[in-house]
């Protein structure tokens, strides 16, 4: 049965020449799991908002969206609230009340459900989502993953038939994101809820989706089942291949006629069956010699309050000039704290931070300030003025730079990072990727020697990540050093010079990405999990493809 039908939908925002959604036609069957993917700004969010009448933005809409054969615009408000659920990207702003239980009750209260019926439904839903333990908690005390789970539960308590999700996992760490997606799978398989999700992170979604829709500039480029998708995406631009799961990227890279693999298991079988695999070891290119020490953390101990727990426990770390150093680790392992200590925002109670072998302390810190630049997890916090350019000039002014020199500097940096067209915009009008670029530019304006980045790839699409990586690689070669903490294993494997794992407040292993990841079992890239028993030391899709091609295709007779 068809639950949703788009018939030649076009949508234009006011004061915009181009269409955000352009001649879009699609039919969604009841119980289907549909993934919508595409670059940032391709129109996926707009499309989802058009389905939910209350969220439809102002603008000009052509064509009709039918929900169960009825135009969306004619749905009764309580039907729309009940049957179509919506979960957004930002876990915080969609929460309405201060308590978890009240958040669950909110939707039912709006529908005037009597208290006794509410009690049953709330009990049921908190059991299903496992939120009993924090039922009475303040929403502000929850982690991002828990908040997003509450948002999902609050949408599901209305017992919707159609669930719309707009990049729900983009602000979650990989573990929380995988948990979230597995719950979506459960909702789809066990309850038959129709799901339409717009997402960048496709690794876990491909195996469970029924259909993948690729959008570009508001149009459908590909509309296919996951296996067929891998085939069709070959004909498109190379950059689209980047955002696909590793299994498909490898499949596309080797150009062999076979069914497209979707999971790690299938991809491993695929590589085993189709290639000779006589050469078993991947030899990484020569490492360049170590540079001078930029920043050194020596036996650093830190806790936030006198009688709280230690967050950093004798942490040691050396950052050299000319390198991009990625520190990985789970939430709560002390990653961000380590960065704060390195940035001089927090002082260790025992141990020392050295900048170019000079001790940093409270007194001399200000003189080092401009040499260390710090990018917070939320780039929004970097900006306090109404336009990006205003903000840049204001900062340079307070740092005591003459205005003509400031202008020159802003021009060069903006050119280098590629944000010339964004300078006049308000920071809140930019997408996350654009904002991240501007934040990086703001750091570079300080002409720092050391960049400290907190989760710079969070919420970015694969194409933007590539841009970011290129900027970072550019910076580090200019006699600077980049230290970033991240959850993004694939990014670290592809771009880092060195990687380290932080656990329980200390660094427990470090090395080149090839050594580091091929020694890990769980904490490693999908490409490495695919190839670990076939090729030793290959950790990125490119490396696996290179090994496959080197080995050559297996003949039918072998």
């Amino acid at each position: 049965m068809e639950i949703l039908h788009f018939e030649n939908i076009s949508f234009t925002y006011p004061n915009s020449d181009s269409k955000a959604v352009d001649n879009f036609s699609l039919s969604v069957k009841s119980g289907e799991f549909v993934v919508i993917c595409g670059k940032s700004g391709c129109g996926k969010t707009t499309l989802l908002k058009l389905i939910k009448k209350e969220l439809t933005p102002h603008g000009h809409l052509n064509g009709e969206i039918l929900y169960k054969g009825m135009p969306i615009t004619e749905l009764e408000p309580n039907v729309s609230a009940r049957e179509i659920g919506f979960v957004k990207q930002d876990p915080d702003s969609q929460l309405v009340t201060d308590k978890v239980w009240h958040e669950l009750a909110f939707g039912l209260e709006n529908l005037n459900v009597p208290p006794s019926a509410m009690r049953l439904r709330i009990g049921e839903i908190s059991d299903y989502f496992g939120i009993n333990e924090w039922f009475y908690r303040d929403v502000n005390t929850l982690s991002g993953g828990q908040k997003q789970l509450v948002n999902l539960a609050a949408a599901m308590i209305m017992q919707p038939e159609l669930l719309l999700l707009d990049e729900p996992t983009s602000q979650l760490d990989p573990v929380a994101a995988a948990d979230f997606i597995s719950i979506l799978e459960k909702l789809n398989k066990e309850l038959g809820v129709t799901i339409i999700i717009a997402e960048h992170r496709l690794e876990e979604l491909f195996p469970i989706a029924d259909r993948i829709v690729l959008m570009d500039s508001g149009r459908i480029l590909i509309n296919s089942d996951p296996r067929g998708f891998g085939e069709k995406v070959k004909d498109l631009d190379e950059e689209y291949s980047r955002m696909l799961p590793s299994a498909i990227r490898i499949f596309n890279g080797v150009k062999v006629k076979a069914p497209c693999p979707l999971t790690v298991k299938e991809a491993r079988e695929f590589v085993n069956a189709n290639f000779k695999n006589d050469i078993k070891e991947y030899v990484p290119p020569e490492q360049k010699a170590a540079g001078n020490t930029a920043l050194r953390l020596e036996d650093v101990w830190f806790r936030y309050e006198r009688d709280s727990q230690d967050v950093l426990k004798g942490l040691k770390l050396t950052l050299e000039y000319g390198e991009l150093f990625c520190v990985l680790g789970a939430n709560g392992s002390g990653k961000t704290t380590m960065l704060n200590v390195a940035a001089g925002l927090d002082l260790p109670y025992k141990g020392q931070v050295f900048l170019e072998e000079k001790k940093i302390n409270k007194k001399n810190f200000e003189s080092f300030r401009t040499r260390i630049a710090y990018l917070p997890q939320n780039p929004q916090l970097m900006f306090v003025k109404d336009s990006i350019a205003d903000d840049f000039f204001y900062m340079l002014n307070t740092l005591g730079l003459a205005s003509d020199k400031a202008k020159e500097l802003v021009e060069t940096v903006a050119g280098k990072v590629g944000i010339n067209d964004l300078l006049d915009k308000h920071p809140y009008d930019l997408s996350l990727g654009q904002l991240q670029k501007c934040a990086l530019a703001k750091l570079l304006l300080q002409r720092p020697k050391i960049l400290l980045l907190d989760e710079p790839t969070m919420g970015l699409d694969a194409i933007f990540k590539r841009v970011l990586a290129d900027i970072l690689i550019n910076i580090k070669t200019e006699d600077a050093a980049v230290l970033m903490v991240t959850h993004d294993i694939e990014f670290a494997a592809e771009n880092a010079d060195r990687c380290a794992l932080i656990f329980d407040g200390g660094i427990i292993s470090s090395g080149t990405p090839e050594d580091f990841f091929s020694n890990n079992y769980f904490y490693t890239t999908a490409a490495n999990r695919i190839s670990r028993n076939i090729y030793k030391g290959a950790i990125t899709c490119e490396q696996v493809i290179e090994m496959c091609l080197k080995n050559g295709v297996r003949d039918e007779k072998d």
């Binding site: 209350e54 309405v96 209260e109 009597p114 303040d138 502000n140 307070t398």
Partner: protein, 292 residues
């Protein structure tokens, strides 16, 4: 306090109103002693570390209130000494002491009140009469910590950018104004998002119900009845002036006859009630465990 806190919020509210009203308006030393003793004991049980931390402050209040009263009041028959021709009387010292005890007692009971009566319970009590007000309050409770956190984080990041390194106060002030204005923008954006989320979940339709977290059980009824009976004795006694106590010009003696005694006992039972509920419950559990 654990068992008491599980009672229906309405019972808890009546209880706290009774205790705090008596403590605030009755200066009888027996009442004061009972209230301060149990008030402090319950505070100690709730969080002994916070209690010990607060103890010096409470002692300071007591001390200052006692020695400062003679400066304001020279009443009283028994002059102890003269400071700069100002008589310091025993009565005025004792009155100061009693005011100090009263303050400590009121502070303790309000602490217990705010610990037990969480926002959930307040919402439960008033939410059904003012549903939209209740929702607003709940949204404010969620929103304010968020704004504070956003302001703190912005300040920290701006600090890391060297925006507060300048020594000049003007620069620092400018920096703070910037943070204020951007956090304002942020909260408006955030509020719009929240409003959209509310609409998407069906807010704004004619009738709204309110979810009730608490039920009214037999134990609630019994406890409420006990509190009300004690209240009748208490307020009757107080209204009839049985607990009236004067500090000036001479300290009167404590009335321990008839109704006055009943008032003291009633108040003692009232103050003991939370302890009794806890004690009863733990005994019950010990008994159940012994049966295994």
């Amino acid at each position: 306090m654990r068992e008491f806190a599980k009672l229906n919020p309405a019972v808890q509210l009546v209880y706290f109103l009774s205790v705090i009203l008596v403590v605030m308006f009755d200066k009888n030393p027996v009442i004061l002693l009972i209230s301060v003793l149990f008030g402090l004991l319950i505070c100690l049980r709730i969080n002994s570390r916070v209690f010990l931390k607060d103890l010096p402050i409470l002692a300071a209040i007591l001390f200052i209130s006692t020695i400062s009263n003679p400066f304001f009041s020279q009443n009283g028959a028994t002059t102890l000494l003269f400071i700069n021709d100002m008589p310091v009387t025993l009565e005025s010292l004792v009155y100061g002491l009693s005011v100090g005890v009263m303050l400590i007692s009121v502070i303790s009971w309000f602490k217990i009140f705010s610990f037990t009566m969480t926002s959930d319970k307040i919402m439960y009590l008033f939410g059904r009469y003012f549903p939209s007000l209740a929702l607003t309050v709940s949204m404010i409770f969620k929103f304010i910590p968020q704004i504070i956190r956003q302001a703190e984080n912005t300040k920290r990041v701006q600090q890391a950018l060297g925006q507060f390194s300048a020594k000049s106060i003007m620069q620092k002030l400018k920096g703070s104004i910037n943070i204020f204005s951007i956090v304002l923008t942020w909260s408006l954006e955030n509020a719009l998002d929240t409003a959209a989320s509310m609409k998407a979940r069906g807010y704004g339709q004619k009738n709204r119900s309110s979810f009730m977290l608490y039920r009214f059980t037999a134990l609630d009824l019994i406890t409420l009845l006990i509190v009300l009976i004690l209240d009748v004795v208490l307020f009757l006694g107080i209204a009839l002036g049985k607990t009236k106590f004067d500090y000036y010009p001479i300290i009167s003696t404590v009335d321990t006859t008839g109704l006055a005694l009943a008032v003291y006992i009633s108040f003692g039972v009232l103050a003991l009630l939370p302890f009794y509920l806890d004690f009863k419950e733990s005994l019950k559990w010990k008994y159940y465990i012994l049966k295994i």
